[in-house]
């Protein structure tokens, strides 16, 4: 990971220590990841492209960042793609609750941001924030999951992570 010139810890040490570092992947994407979060190895043959886990936030649930990639049908709009994803989330996540959904249009294209709540494998309340973008025929979904009591304290940081996904030509 390389230090990024972008977002820094809002209450940090005057900017000497980056709070976020940019991770550059050889597959043509990069994203910001909080300093000190452990990047986990990616199992081959999966849709997962990136996983990082926090060092102990949120009790028995560690906050984490997961980037997944999907092949998208040609000409499928990001909003249409995400409309198809919504029922799957409802089916697969226990006590799923959609809290917020917005389309964010920017110079690099549109993305769908989703805030949701669900119950984790050990009955923990989990808040997850998700940013979905299309790049060519590939859909990228960046998901940050946090134990709900810890979400308020991490939300601004995770918003910086969510907006940080870049693609190299």
């Amino acid at each position: 990971m390389t230090p990024d010139a972008g977002p820094r810890h809002p209450e940090g040490d005057g900017g000497a220590t980056p709070w976020l570092e940019r991770y550059e992947d050889t597959r043509g994407f990069s994203l910001l990841c909080p300093t000190g979060w452990e990047r986990l190895p990616i199992p081959s043959g999966t849709e997962t492209a990136f996983v990082a886990i926090a060092p102990g936030h949120g009790g028995d649930f560690h906050a984490n960042i997961v980037l997944t990639v999907d092949d998208l049908p040609q000409d499928l709009d990001v909003a249409e793609w995400q409309a198809e994803v919504e029922p799957a989330l409802d089916l697969t996540l226990e006590e799923y609750m959609l809290l917020d959904l917005e389309r964010i249009d920017g110079p690099d294209g549109s993305m769908i941001r989703r805030l949701m709540h669900h119950v984790g494998p050990r009955s923990q309340p989990i808040t997850a924030e998700q940013w979905a973008r299309a790049h060519g025929p590939t859909g990228y979904t960046l998901t940050c999951s946090v134990a709900t009591p810890a979400y308020d304290g991490l939300a601004d940081l995770l918003a910086d992570v969510g907006r940080s996904l870049r693609f190299t030509p």
Binding site: M97, L99, D100, L115, S123, T148, P149, D152
Partner: protein, 231 residues
């Protein structure tokens, strides 16, 4: 009044008086006449014990350390209020139900934030407003009343308020902690077009545009004390 109880699911609907009788009986097993008879007939009380599915709620109500007040006023004049009694092991919610009954819900303290979000139907809303609106404090009655004409006039007087024609839900959640007397809460005007945070002072009413994510964060802050109790 009727007591509606489903022993399989623990779903219980009862009147405010029957709830008070059940609480009183749980404290000292004092007799409460017709109330107690109804509760026994419905299966809420069996012998000398409350049904096991209502035990956590009763324990929370008898030993609560935070009281939550939920108030909801809908554009058509309906009111749906509720009280949450937060203890270490459970939260007992009493919510207004049809026929002057109250529904008793038991929630684990760690699920308090999501329970509050479900009660006020938090979910995606349009956004886009960036300007605050300010009104005189006494405009509240007209602005959030069920008379559409007066509501529109009050909204026009402050430069318009998207969503004021309805449907909307003007709701608040306030927590009172018994140990330290701390009060905290939030008030929201929730419309499909825009959510607004509402702050009241003696003189004025300030409406600030907000969104469901911000409201979720505020609900986490309000319920954090309950969640910490369980750790």
């Amino acid at each position: 009044m009727t007591v509606l109880f489903d022993a399989a699911t623990g779903r219980l609907r009862l009147s405010a008086d029957d709830w008070e009788a059940l609480l009183s009986w749980s404290r000292d097993h004092s007799r409460q006449g017709e109330h107690l008879t109804r509760l026994r007939e419905a299966g809420v009380i069996r012998g000398d014990w409350p049904h096991s599915s209502v035990m956590p709620a009763l324990e929370a109500a008898l030993d609560h350390i935070t009281t939550l007040r939920v108030r909801q006023r809908l554009h058509d004049g309906r009111r749906i209020d509720g009280t949450g009694l937060v203890a270490r092991g459970a939260v007992a919610f009493l919510l207004d139900a049809p026929d002057d009954l109250r529904e008793l819900l038991t929630v684990h303290p760690t699920m308090l934030t999501s329970a509050l979000a479900r009660v006020v139907a938090l979910g995606p809303r349009d956004r886009g407003e960036i300007e605050d609106r300010e009104a005189a404090a006494d405009a509240e009655t007209d602005l959030f009343g069920s008379d559409a004409g007066r509501r529109r006039a009050a909204a026009d007087a402050i430069g318009g308020l998207p969503g004021v024609d309805g449907p909307w839900n003007y709701w608040s959640v306030h927590a009172h902690r018994q140990p330290d007397g701390l009060e905290e809460g939030l008030t929201v005007l929730d419309t499909p077009d825009q959510m607004w945070l509402v702050e009241r002072t003696h003189e004025k009413l300030l409406l600030s545009p907000t969104d469901p994510t911000r409201v979720w964060r505020l609900l986490i802050r309000i319920s954090s004390h309950a969640m910490e109790l369980f750790r």
